[in-house]
């Protein structure tokens, strides 16, 4: 539980940092908060507020671990009482901002390839974010379990496989729903003529290779109790969501233009720097706080 919250919290914080580096003009960041041009008509206003509130909710969820580390027992008790509310608030926010990110692209109908444009893009973004989160937990949990094996508590060690099978079962079910909606959207939009083009082949790579195939692997992994198959399925599903977001925002965006956007080496280096800095902070926290191990007895008894 804590390791997932920590991972989500750090991902959001570092993503916000990466956005700052990408967009520039950091002095405009407080504008949606202080009212110097709120930007109420923009979907970005919604996304910005969700982002800030979600980071705060995740910080509250993780804060008992920080209080334990600092030895603030009374503060920990108060923070522990806030976590259930923070979890409910966080789930509500994430449903809204994932669909909000998709809603951004509803304005870009002429720019986005018809195979990826849909009136239901907020709903598709939301549903795909559910299985993205679940498969991310499977992949990240498997890596953490191996790398920090010495820090994993015996209780977590025993329940680890069971948790992964449970997550995979839910992820497979959600992917089934996502596939149905994608197919319905395809038929409703009468996109037959696009499927025989190169873009159609690329679309099939995403939908068949990185959604349908991982769904089968995840469900087969659960049915046959095979962790290896399940992990491959989770990895492929995660790649599928990444590819979907890249297709919508970059690859199939302004698909008709002769000169396409390709990131420069400096952008790649900055992105890698942000990712590695996040991993470094994650490791720093896991090695110091009760993230994977049991809560210290002196604290848990209070």
């Amino acid at each position: 539980m804590r390791v997932t919250v920590l991972n989500g919290f750090l991902a959001y914080v570092f993503y916000a940092g990466a956005l700052l580096l990408d967009l520039g003009r950091p002095w405009n960041v407080p504008n949606p908060i202080i009212g110097n041009s709120f930007g109420l008509t923009s979907v970005m206003f919604l996304v910005c507020w969700h982002f800030m509130l979600y980071i705060t909710a995740e910080l509250i969820e993780f804060s008992p671990a920080v209080a334990e580390w600092l030895g603030w027992h009374r503060v920990r008790r108060v923070l522990n009482g806030l976590t259930v509310g923070a979890v409910i608030f966080g789930i509500t926010l994430s449903t809204l901002h994932q669909s909000g990110l998709g809603a951004l692209y509803m304005m870009a109908k002429p720019k986005l390839h018809p195979l990826w444009y849909s009136e239901f893009i907020p709903l598709l973004f939301f549903i795909s974010s559910i299985f993205a989160g679940l498969t991310m937990v499977i992949v990240e949990g498997s890596i953490t379990h191996r790398v920090f094996h010495h820090r994993v508590s015996p209780e977590l060690e025993r329940s680890h496989d069971k948790i992964l099978f449970g997550l995979a079962r839910i992820a497979g079910g959600v992917m089934f729903v996502y596939l149905f909606l994608t197919a319905l959207n395809f038929l409703h939009g009468e996109l037959w003529n696009h499927i025989v083009t190169g873009w159609g082949a690329w679309y099939l790579v995403e939908i068949v290779g990185l959604v349908a195939l991982p769904m089968v692997l995840l469900l087969a992994g659960v049915a046959k109790r095979h962790l290896g198959v399940l992990r491959i399925g989770a990895g492929l599903a995660l790649l599928g969501v990444i590819l979907n977001r890249l297709n919508v925002t970059t690859i199939a965006f302004k698909w008709y233009e002769a000169v396409r956007y390709v990131p420069s080496w400096m952008e790649i280096v900055v992105t890698l720097m942000v990712v590695f800095a996040e991993i470094w902070v994650f490791r720093w926290v896991v090695n110091r706080m009760a993230v994977l191990g049991p809560v210290p007895r002196a604290v848990s008894e209070i």
Partner: protein, 40 residues
Amino acid sequence: MLESFRYVNIFETKGLEYLLLICFLLLLVALVRYMSARGR
């Protein structure tokens, strides 16, 4: 305009979408049965 509309045309009546829905519902039943049988 109405005269050109054919109720037997599967594209115009959105019949394909209904067929897809039925197929997915049947697949869902099969999937749940398969997973429950394996889970037992």
